[in-house]
């Protein structure tokens, strides 16, 4: 299992300090309409939400990380196997899943900020904007192509794999990146094969609510995962990612299974399921209590959402994975 063990994974190329030219560099990457240029692998890296950290851990480049945000949404058991100690060793710069104040961010004097979303640079929240970071010499890489709400809706699973390759180039660990991508493809192919001949299961993905109901429509990461895992999104007709739906719209659906976003603080996944099931009591999902509590991290671009595809597939088609 490639992800076992803590940070110093074997097999990645160490950057050579003092060398006049690092092999593979300079690296030029286009990200969200910005051109990122690296003459050498970055040495001071700040990470956003947990999936980003998980991806960097997979690439074995976590020794460059000088700051990470907090991740306690799913409790102490919410981490991928073996990652918790490394997470606790890394310096914490924010007590929430979002970036800290502008001054804290700028004071970190990072080379590179890697994060999962455009919303982490909100001036109204007192955060540093991408421009401000750029002026301070900090480059920003946004994963999943989540540059803005529109591109967030256009996410495809392939985007996650693309991130790994690009990050591999940035950090000068292309072979490690290849290995990770191969593993990811293997997982995806395994899932595709398993569900190939099976009838897609109607799925309702929700974050709770009784009126309006927060649900995931036919665009974006959650939808892509559902479709890849042998499910069919009952709200595929709506071209939106997470949105507030009229109760009637949900009441008219008949899912056989539900996926419930899981995170704290807030109601538990079980509570959210009960709340939404009450709107569709005649559906198979409600009658049989068939739901999967999916940690919110899985719905953001990163290593984990590949794992989540398999998890969802196993949930929807358990008989395909038996034995």
């Amino acid at each position: 299992m490639l992800m076992a063990g803590s940070g110093c994974a074997a097999g990645h190329a160490e950057p050579e300090t003092g060398a006049t030219a690092v092999p593979g560099f300079p690296v030029v990457i286009e990200n969200c309409g910005r051109t990122l240029t690296f003459d050498a692998p970055p040495e001071r890296v700040v990470t956003g939400y947990q999936p980003v950290l998980e991806t960097l851990l997979a690439l074995g480049v976590d020794d460059r990380i000088i700051g990470r945000v907090n991740f306690s949404e799913n409790g102490p058991d919410g981490f991928l196997p073996g990652q918790r100690e490394r997470y606790e060793q890394l310096p914490e710069i924010s007590d929430s899943i979002l970036f800290p104040d502008r001054e804290v961010m700028l004071a970190l004097d990072a080379d590179l900020v890697v994060t999962e979303g455009w919303y982490n640079f909100s001036e109204s929240r007192g955060q540093a904007t991408i421009e401000e970071l750029a002026e301070a010499g900090t480059q920003v890489y946004i994963t999943g192509g989540w540059c803005d709400p529109e591109s967030q809706r256009r996410f495809q699973i392939e985007d996650t794999l693309q991130d790994v390759i690009e990050l591999g180039r940035i950090f000068g660990v292309p072979e490690q990146a290849e290995a990770v991508v191969d593993e990811m493809r293997q997982i995806l192919d395994e899932v595709t094969a398993a569900v190939a001949d099976r009838t897609p299961v109607p799925v309702l993905a929700t974050d709770g609510g009784a009126g309006p109901v927060r649900v995931y429509g036919g665009a974006g990461l959650t939808h892509a995962m559902i479709e890849a895992a042998g499910g069919v999104n009952v709200l595929a007709a709506v071209e939106d990612d997470l949105f507030q739906a009229n109760v009637e719209v949900v009441a008219a659906t008949e899912p056989r299974a539900m996926i419930v976003t899981d995170y704290q603080p807030g109601p538990t996944a079980a509570e959210k399921f009960t709340e939404v099931a009450a709107i569709i009591p005649d559906s198979a999902a409600a009658r049989e209590g068939t739901y999967l509590a999916l940690p919110a991290v899985s719905q953001h671009p990163g290593y984990r959402n590949i794992l989540a595809v398999r998890e969802i597939a196993q949930f929807l088609h358990p008989e395909a994975f038996a034995g």
Partner: protein, 373 residues
């Protein structure tokens, strides 16, 4: 008394403004106009309510709606042979929602009209005196803390507690029973509203709340989407009690509208009356806002529109405001469900967009804007 009459002037004195045809309304003409407004308002309400239960993401013909309702109320009647899912949608969601629109629309407009007289301020609305910000604070605190004891009922409970807290605080801040002048009430209410707003804005800004902020924001802008039969009880009881108690006060309201001294001279115990009205309207507002969040605009503008149509006498103004408020909110709610289907729009967004053009039209039709105070 002597029967000598003072000589009437035959020379025309300069009136303040030449009477327009609207202003020279007949006693019988005012009454006719009033009845016309009542009839028109009822028609609007009925049409909008029928629309509300038949229109939606799944269109349902009115006859089917009726048979669904009849079957539910009188179970021995044969059930309609249509789709049970659709029936459930109609019964469990659309009908309570239509009813709630009537209750809350009427209630907010009624409270707005009463408060505009009591504080002698044309800008008064149900949210001026703090009840709504208190409720909003309670609701946001509940949402953001993730504590959901009892789901939506718990949320409404927290909101109502917030409204109660605001009521008590404003009352105390404005100086208590003997000193509730309009000025003090308004200042205390506005100041406290700012305080509560700061409170829930702070809660929303905290990064922990990033995910829950969207639900909280939706609640703050008001919505009828949470309407179910069980949470109609309290607003219905509140409105029934409120209507009885407030409509009966029309004389005192006319009197205080004319000023504190006039009201005192007419035998209205002004400070006590103001306190009673304040408590009553705050409770009624709290009960409604606890279920729907703060729906803006209805309580402010509908009384003005009603005043333009039926005049300022509260004997006519209060029932007219309630009726028009119900019809207005019902209509607006249909728009909130349809404009961005399948998404829900928050109501405060739509009330303003729908209401302002109509109000401007009404304003232009009158030669003078006849506002209170």
């Amino acid at each position: 008394m002597t029967t000598a009459r003072p000589a009437r002037s035959t020379v025309a004195t300069t009136p303040v403004a030449p009477p327009t045809s609207e202003q020279v309304g007949g006693g019988p003409r005012w009454r006719a106009r009033y009845l016309g407004v009542l009839a028109g308002g009822t028609l609007l309400l009925v049409a909008a309510t029928v629309g509300s239960v038949t229109i939606g993401s799944v269109p349902v013909p009115p006859t089917e709606v009726l048979s669904v309702a009849a079957h539910q109320v009188l179970p021995w009647l044969p059930a309609d042979s249509g789709d049970p899912v659709v029936h459930r949608i109609v019964w469990q969601y659309r009908m309570p929602r239509a009813l709630l629109a009537v209750l809350v629309g009427a209630g907010l407009a009624l409270v707005g009209a009463v408060l505009q007289a009591v504080v002698r301020n044309p800008l008064a609305d149900p949210f001026l005196l703090g009840a709504s910000s208190g409720a909003s604070f309670g609701a946001v605190a509940a949402i953001v803390s993730g504590v959901t004891v009892g789901g939506m009922v718990g949320l409404s409970g927290a909101a109502f507690l917030g409204a109660l807290a605001a009521l008590v605080l404003v009352y105390v801040m404005a100086g208590g029973r003997g000193r509730l002048t309009p000025g003090r009430l308004v200042l205390a209410g506005v100041a406290l509203s700012y305080l509560f707003q700061a409170g829930y804005s702070f809660l929303l800004q905290r990064a922990d709340a990033a995910r829950l902020a969207q639900s909280a924001l939706f609640w703050l802008l008001g919505s009828l989407a949470g309407a179910r039969w069980y949470n109609l009880l309290l607003p219905a009881a509140g409105l029934a009690a409120g209507m009885v108690l407030l409509l009966a006060q029309w004389r005192s309201l006319n009197a205080v509208m004319a000023g504190t001294d006039t009201a005192t001279a007419l035998g209205v115990p002004v400070h006590r009356f103001r306190a009673q009205m304040f408590v009553l309207t705050s409770l009624l507002t709290g009960v409604m806002v606890a279920v729907t969040g703060a729906i803006a605009f209805v309580g402010l503008i509908v009384p003005h529109a009603a005043r333009m149509l039926v005049g300022a006498d509260h004997r006519r103004l209060l029932p007219a405001s309630a009726l028009l408020g119900a019809g207005f909110l019902q209509t607006v709610d249909i728009a909130a469900r349809l404009l961005d289907s399948p998404r829900e729009l928050p109501l405060s967004v739509v009330t303003a967009v729908c209401g302002v053009p109509f109000f401007l039209w009404l304003l232009r039709r009158r030669t003078t804007a006849q506002v209170v105070g």
